[in-house]
């Protein structure tokens, strides 16, 4: 089994859909998440506040210095993540496809490294 990170991507500065549309999206996402749980592939899901809500910690001369985030200003931002545990990429892509259909923004699928004990 391999774990994959499914990131919901969006363009910086893009406007959120109106509340009714957003509610519909959220309930559809929850339905996909329940489907993942039933199938036994779901590890974790969560939506993120905007990058401006972040704090960055830096190692500087032996000290840890805190500053306001984000760490880098990028055009593509992550709005939320889901982690699934499945046999291979195609299985992860099948779940990502379901998410992409309801969320309508791009989904990036990335494998976690496997550490051998």
């Amino acid at each position: 089994m391999k774990q994959y990170l499914l990131s919901v991507c969006y363009q910086a500065g893009s406007t959120q859909p109106p509340p009714e549309a957003l509610n519909k999206i959220m309930s559809d996402v929850m339905a996909v998440q329940r489907e993942m749980q039933t199938a036994g592939v779901w590890v974790f899901s969560g939506g993120l506040h905007p990058p401006s809500s972040s704090t960055v910690l830096r190692h500087q001369n032996g000290e840890i210095v805190l500053t306001d985030g984000p760490f880098v200003d990028t055009k593509e931002q992550i709005g939320g993540i889901t982690i699934v545990q499945v046999p291979d990429l195609d299985a992860a892509l099948d779940w990502a496809r379901k998410l992409a259909r309801v969320i309508t923004t791009p989904i990036e699928v990335r494998p976690f490294m496997e550490y051998r004990s």
């Binding site: 391999k2 046999p87 990429l89 195609d90 892509l93 494998p111």
Partner: protein
């Protein structure tokens, strides 16, 4: 290769094992004689080499896995080889890999060309191509790209990706996008070989047969298309130099897939080429039928390139004026053939100055030396008259 990859789950390891097996065969077969089943011998030897290696290098958990593989890997049957090659094709053409990586991997793992030969054909340094291949293999391993034939629901999309890779290889061979040679025959041959492999693996898929028919029908004109290294257009080609046995094979393949009654873009393009091949001379070409086929193609697979080819058919049916209007509506500013077609239409309409400037634009966009020479000749003859 494909069989060993399934046993080991790792393409690089499989490749090394197969190379070692061939080296052993080279050393042993001249004295001991060729074994009754050479392919089976290579597969068994490669598998044993890989397992030796795993035992030597592996940690305990990997040794256990290797032992498990050995017990699973019983007798290799002919149909296993068949299925494994099919799996390998879908892995090599997985949409998670960049198109150039798909092409390089397919040629390397399923084709018969060396890394140096592939690099030469695509005009990249061998080191660049080797790196492209090793990165693609690493991605297959790290991303967990599976080694299986896609499920029925995904098959149409995944199959069209496979066919696109093979057709890209063919086109790169038949009309090299850049460089000094007009044709790179080794790539045409390789694409047709891959097409035959796909047709053998998926005989029930009409588009697989359609692609093979298309490539063979075009390839039949190879010798007539390049005379003394110079480009000769379809209309001016010496039809006696067309390879009649290839044409016959292409037509037969096309008839076969059309009976499956599931038309698709490759079958339609093959049909268009079959119509060309049926005409004893350019003047006898059944342009009406070709136009009808392009109309169908515009419905199921519209693209600017198809629209441009359709406009050429319209012009041949006597409508240079309406063809020009069609061409002017196509948005393909970087495609040199659009400007070349435009130039030709303007010439026919007697608009010499406009034609000259269209030839100039086409020359600026064209990167193949032989095709540039052809355009240059067209331009010069326009200026003379």
């Amino acid at each position: 290769m494909a069989v060993i990859t399934r046993f080991l789950g790792d393409i690089s390891l499989a490749e090394e094992a197969v190379q070692e097996a061939f080296a052993t065969a080279l050393a042993r077969w001249p004295q001991a004689g060729i074994p009754p089943s050479p392919a089976g011998w290579i597969i068994t030897t490669a598998r044993n080499k890989a397992l030796d290696r795993l035992r030597r290098e592996a940690t305990r958990s990997e040794r256990q896995r290797a032992a498990q593989l050995l017990t699973e890997a019983e007798q290799v049957e002919e149909h296993d080889v068949h299925d494994d090659r099919l799996r390998m094709i879908f892995t090599c053409c997985h949409p998670s890999l960049a198109p150039e990586a798909q092409i390089a991997l397919t040629l390397r793992l399923l084709g018969g060309l060396s890394t140096e030969e592939i690099a030469h054909a695509f005009l990249v340094p061998p080191a660049t191509l080797a790196q492209r291949i090793s990165r693609a293999k690493a991605k297959i391993r790290d991303a967990g790209i599976p080694y299986h034939v896609p499920e029925a629901i995904d098959l149409p999309a995944r199959l069209s990706a496979v066919l696109a890779v093979v057709y890209l290889i063919f086109n790169e061979g038949y009309s090299a996008a850049s460089g000094d040679e007009l044709l790179r025959g080794e790539l045409c041959d390789e694409a047709i070989r891959l097409g035959r492999l796909l047709a053998a693996l998926m005989p029930g898929e009409p588009e697989v047969l359609g692609l093979l028919a298309l490539m063979i029908l075009i390839d039949a004109r190879r010798d007539a298309r390049s005379v003394g290294g110079d480009l000769v257009r379809l209309a001016e080609q010496d039809r006696d130099r067309w390879d009649e046995s290839k044409l016959e094979e292409g037509r037969a393949l096309l008839r076969g897939c059309l009976t499956l009654n599931r038309p698709g873009p490759y079958q339609l393009q093959a049909a268009i080429n079959a119509v060309h091949s049926d005409a004893p001379s350019a003047a006898h070409t059944d342009w009406r039928q070709i136009l009808e086929l392009y109309d169908q193609l515009m419905i199921i697979a519209p693209s600017p390139v198809v629209a441009l080819n359709r406009a050429v058919a319209v012009a041949e049916m006597g409508g240079a004026d309406s063809a020009l209007q069609l061409v002017d509506a196509i948005n393909l500013p970087q495609y040199y053939l659009l400007h070349a077609v435009r130039a030709d239409l303007l010439r026919r309409l007697g608009r010499t100055a406009d034609a000259a400037s269209a030839y100039q634009t086409a020359l600026e966009k064209c990167e193949n030396a032989k095709e540039r020479e052809f355009l240059e000749r067209q331009y010069q003859s326009l200026m003379k008259n």
